[in-house]
């Protein structure tokens, strides 16, 4: 067995030994499967209306009940989860690639570039995240794509900071020095030597970031400034359920419960991954 594979199997064993992490990974995997494939298994379409079956309570044929148009809420939640997950993941992907790239360059260059970029990140970070997202929606205009951009801009400073701090830790390591001595071009050093060695905390942050993005999407769409109906997103369905919450509480309740489950899975998974990568921290917090 090569050393690398040995290390991987050790990581896997340690991951499987952490019940919360496994639970988190399980919930997350189930949620992703449900969001991607689940909708296809449902007998109804997301816009299939049945005016003989309005606002009916959860039952076997409609596990999450129906809404004011007689649409099956579970089907809509599955479609909505797909939209919400896609928007959040897109936003976080943009935030991660832009933030990490700038953070790495910032740490590697130092000097003015570093100071300016980090001040900018700090500035964005000082705004209340949801207020910043709301402000961006006014400037960009309401709509699904702009939700992703708002998520990206509000989460960008976190990745920029993290990317910078991790690069500072790694850049003095012997293998980076060696690459520099061999006169490897800077972009190559950043991509081949540094990035793989700082990837772990970035992945943890991305997991938590996707949970954050889902909440931002739901919040913006819930207020009516995010994804616009009839496109179902989790926030849109909740905003809809809010209208008749007293008469049919299940629409909002079940949609929110789905979000909570997804967040629970992502949070547990993220915590588990973090423990895995930093055994010292785990010892400190658990022993």
């Amino acid at each position: 067995m090569t050393p690398r594979r040995n290390q991987l199997s050790r990581l896997l064993a340690s991951f499987l030994g952490n019940p919360t992490a496994v639970l988190g990974a399980g919930i997350t995997a189930f949620m992703i499967l449900a969001a991607t494939l689940g909708a296809a298994l449902m007998p109804y379409g997301p816009d299939h209306t049945d005016f003989l079956d309005l606002l009916s309570a959860p039952s076997l044929s409609h596990p999450f009940g129906t809404d004011s148009f007689g649409r099956d809420v579970l089907t809509r939640v599955l479609y909505g989860a797909r939209v919400s997950l896609l928007l959040s993941a897109t936003g976080i992907a943009i935030a991660a690639s832009a933030g990490v790239a700038l953070g790495m360059v910032s740490a590697y260059k130092g000097g003015y570039v570093d100071m300016l970029l980090m001040r900018f990140a700090d500035l964005l970070f000082a705004f209340p995240s949801f207020v910043l997202a709301l402000f961006l929606m006014v400037v960009l205009g309401f709509g699904a794509l702009n939700v992703s951009i708002a998520i990206a801009l509000t989460y960008f400073p976190i990745f920029a900071r993290l990317g910078r701090n991790m690069t500072l830790l790694v850049r003095e390591e012997p293998f980076v020095q060696a690459a520099r001595l061999m006169a490897e071009p800077t972009p190559l050093i950043l991509m081949r030597e540094i990035l793989p060695n700082i990837a772990a905390p970035l992945i943890v942050q991305a997991t938590i970031g996707i949970a954050f993005g889902i909440v931002i999407e739901a919040g913006l769409s819930f207020l009516g400034v995010g994804v616009q109906p009839p496109t179902p997103s989790l926030g849109v369905i909740m905003a809809d359920g809010r209208e008749y919450f007293a008469r049919a509480p299940w629409v909002l309740t079940m949609t929110g419960a789905t979000i909570s489950c997804a967040l629970l899975g992502l949070n547990l998974f993220g915590d588990g991954l973090r423990d895995l990568m930093d055994p010292r921290l785990r010892q400190r917090t658990q022993s």
Partner: protein
């Protein structure tokens, strides 16, 4: 000047610079927003001379730099300009003066709740580490973090307002009218905002307490034969509070974000609902003003946290 004063002056200067840069950025960015404010107020078919007069009255015909300067010097005098569409022509400062105390009340109420819950939960979890109650507290904390506050609001409304009629489901009595009424009608919104924060705080406090308990000076104190409660109070708790207080400062960003949605849900006429109304009305100056006020609150709270940290641990300032 003592070191701590020097340190705090530096922090304050940094906060003011951040505020200035923040004001510049949001001002420039919102000028790029679609739509002409003049047409938004006067209608699409307004007569050109009216539009020109409006643009002149609101300094929209000046270069961007001059516009920013006029706006900024007004800001320094507490003058945010005039609202456009939301409350036609009323000074925004009046709107904010009416709304800010309400948001401040709900926000403080939520922070106090979160602190009360987390001090109890975090301390109990740390003292009974590994026992059932620790597992319970930790599980509740993970659940708390995973519930979006606006969803939690509705669950609270469902159980405590529609079910048991303990609290009103909608509406808020201003603390200026009735203090007890404000505490009663503000309970559900404050709890909805507080719950996720309490979860974060108590996790932080637990970690921080356990971390501090393993420090050498604590072992030394124990070896002197001090009683466990004495060591806890004087050696562990105080030092563990520093990261805890810092996290409270960091969470203010999320708290204020939560306030925006929760105010809408409960019909609280605070700064958050003012901002959302302004967003829908495309009242750019009001959106701008609200954003700046929110930023100022974050910076003020973080400065207060700095003060508190220096008071807790004078070494910090060196």
């Amino acid at each position: 000047m003592p070191r701590s004063a020097l340190y705090l002056t530096g922090r304050l200067a940094g906060a003011l610079l951040t505020l200035l840069a923040g004001a510049l950025i949001v001002f420039v960015v919102i000028k790029a927003a679609p739509g002409d404010p003049a047409l938004a107020v006067l209608g699409e078919n307004a007569r050109p001379e009216l539009v020109a007069a409006f643009r002149h009255a609101h300094h929209l015909d000046e270069p961007l730099g001059v516009q920013f300067w006029i706006w900024l010097s007004g800001l320094l005098h507490g003058n945010f300009g005039l609202s456009l569409t939301i409350a036609g022509g009323i000074p925004i400062s009046e709107l904010i003066a009416a709304r800010l105390p309400i948001t401040a009340f709900v926000g403080l109420y939520a922070v106090l709740m979160a602190v009360a819950i987390s001090l109890t939960m975090g301390t109990v979890a740390a003292l009974r580490r590994g026992r059932a109650i620790d597992t319970l507290a930790t599980s509740i904390a993970v659940l708390g973090i995973s519930m979006p506050d606006f969803w939690l609001s509705y669950m609270l409304i469902f159980a405590l307002a529609l079910g048991w009629h303990l609290f009103p489901a909608y509406g808020f009595i201003s603390p200026m009218d009735s203090i007890s009424g404000a505490f009663h009608s503000g309970f559900l919104p404050a709890l909805a905002i507080a719950a996720p924060m309490a979860a974060v705080f108590s996790r932080m406090l637990r970690t921080s307490l356990l971390d501090t308990a393993n420090r050498e000076y604590v072992t030394v104190a124990r070896s002197f034969g001090f009683s466990a409660p004495f060591v806890f109070r004087h050696y562990i708790f105080r030092n563990a509070l520093i990261p805890y207080v810092t996290v409270i400062g960091l969470q203010i960003r999320y708290l204020l974000g939560g306030v925006v949605v929760i105010e809408r849900i409960f019909g609280i006429q605070g700064l958050g609902s003012l901002m959302v109304d302004a967003v829908f009305a495309r009242d750019y100056p009001t959106v701008l003003a609200c954003t700046i006020v929110f930023l100022t609150v974050v910076l003020l709270v973080n400065f207060a946290v700095d003060l508190l940290c220096v008071a807790l641990d004078p070494r910090r300032s060196t």
